[in-house]
Symmetry: C2
Subunit: 279 residues, 2 copies
């Protein structure tokens, strides 16, 4: 566990990282966040995550009073104080303490660090099973704290022996609650939804890397197409790439990690290493 | 301000009513609540609010470990300690402290009391203006803490000189973020949406009272019908009844509190007084 957290203007002991009940995140589920990994003690894609945080804050009318430089200094100090390698850092910006319990005021800024392990080889080989559910996330392009439906569906997911849910609207797939979805077609095209989703940082980087070897398409994917796909996988900051081996009751491809998914993971890892050694 | 609040198993000073950052309400916007008024020191419709709280908790898979009797005892003690007449009490049940930041654990129960004033005669006479917005609330039948869109729309509402937003789906009206919507037709029928809404406690009581004098219909209302209506109003625990005098740029009826809306307010107040004097 981390020892230190940061709230607003001070470092405090993690066990005392509390927010008063009047905050709009607690009262009304109103806030944004971002989360990035450390490789060793080095943040991965920090600039991209901070850029997205500022974008999310602006879209949600939440003034973020710190500059990017100030946030980086706080993050550096937090990393040094906690000395917690291979962990993740979450930056949350809430609606703030509201007198009437509804109007946004001065946001609370909370930065916390937690131990974190990316999925290992075994989990990659096993892959994950998804179940579909018709739902469109609210403000999908913004990284808000709204995971109401994703968490509410946990019993639904477990009853079906699945690992997570894949949202769709009238059979057009969008995303999982915390990751982006891809398929590999029988023509070896890499395809991922274009609309009504959060365009994840790992998703965007993966598309860039994949384009060097494959045709990559951003477009609508219907459920029927997934069931005929050669491979499928998800991407996220925490999971990197994980093969999707079944959707609902249908096995995808060979029912375990596909060759192209494996290749893409290797390319992504090589890309990470190159960046980490540079920074 | 209230002096005391209650968290989980103890009364604490209100200024110390804090929740640790790991709670799923803060991390993922996951929780339910209810809110009731006091007339003097007497809770209004307490049984109905508690019934709804238990229903919300069950629907959201949140174990509420207290019984109704236990909750009533806590509420009585809170009222006695704070001695804050004409106030409101909010009971919140969160997703609890979650090790992985996603799975529901043991909820945190937070009970707080705050000063509260129902709208006065002047505000009633003036009425309110609504703007419409296409949106369907998530899990509308459950009183969750999700007010993401309602709060996010605040600048949109203010720019249009309105007081609140009225949601619709393809021109079929549903509700406001914190209140139910009614119209009075030119044939003096009281009509309110039936589907995809939170069926508020004041809404249900008003329908019961109105049925003694009017025909009451629960059915779809299209925006076009509102613009032709004789009167329109909203109901909620905090607002009781408030006339809606304009929707978007269109004046409704005479553009101020209508006669039937006034009559319904009087009937509702009489109903409140009868109940309060009994209890």
């Amino acid at each position: 566990m981390a020892t230190w957290a940061f709230i607003n203007d001070e470092f405090i002991r993690e066990e005392r990282a509390c927010i008063h009940f009047r905050d709009l995140a607690l009262q009304r589920g109103y806030g944004v966040f971002d989360f990035f990994r450390l490789e060793g003690q080095t943040p991965v894609f920090l600039n991209l995550h901070l850029k997205r945080l500022f974008y999310s804050a602006r879209e949600m009318h939440l003034p973020l009073e710190k500059t990017e430089v100030e946030l980086k200094a706080i993050i550096s100090e937090l990393i040094a104080r906690n000395n917690l390698p291979n962990s993740g850092i979450r930056i949350t910006l809430t609606g703030g303490y509201s007198a009437d319990g509804y109007q946004v005021t001065i946001p609370n800024l909370v930065i916390t660090q937690q131990p974190f392990q990316s999925p290992g080889k075994e989990q990659f080989q096993k892959g994950i099973k998804l179940v579909t559910y018709e739902h469109q996330r609210q403000l999908p392009h913004v990284k808000t704290i709204d995971y109401l439906i994703g968490i509410w569906l946990q019993p639904y997911i477990k009853e079906r022996g699945a690992d997570d849910v894949l949202y769709h609207q009238q059979n057009i797939l969008t995303e999982c609650p915390r990751s982006n979805f891809f398929i590999v077609t029988n023509e070896n095209r890499i395809v991922t939804p274009a609309q009504h989703i959060l365009k994840g940082i790992t998703r965007n980087i993966l598309m860039e890397i994949a384009r060097e070897k494959f045709e990559v398409e951003e477009r609508n994917i219907r459920l029927e197409e997934v069931l005929l796909a050669k491979e499928a996988f998800i991407t996220s900051t925490t999971k990197n790439i994980l093969p999707v081996v079944a959707v609902n009751e249908s096995v995808i491809g060979i029912g375990s990690a596909g060759m192209i998914t494996e290749l893409l993971l290797k390319l992504l890892q090589a890309h990470h290493q190159k960046r980490t050694s540079v920074s």
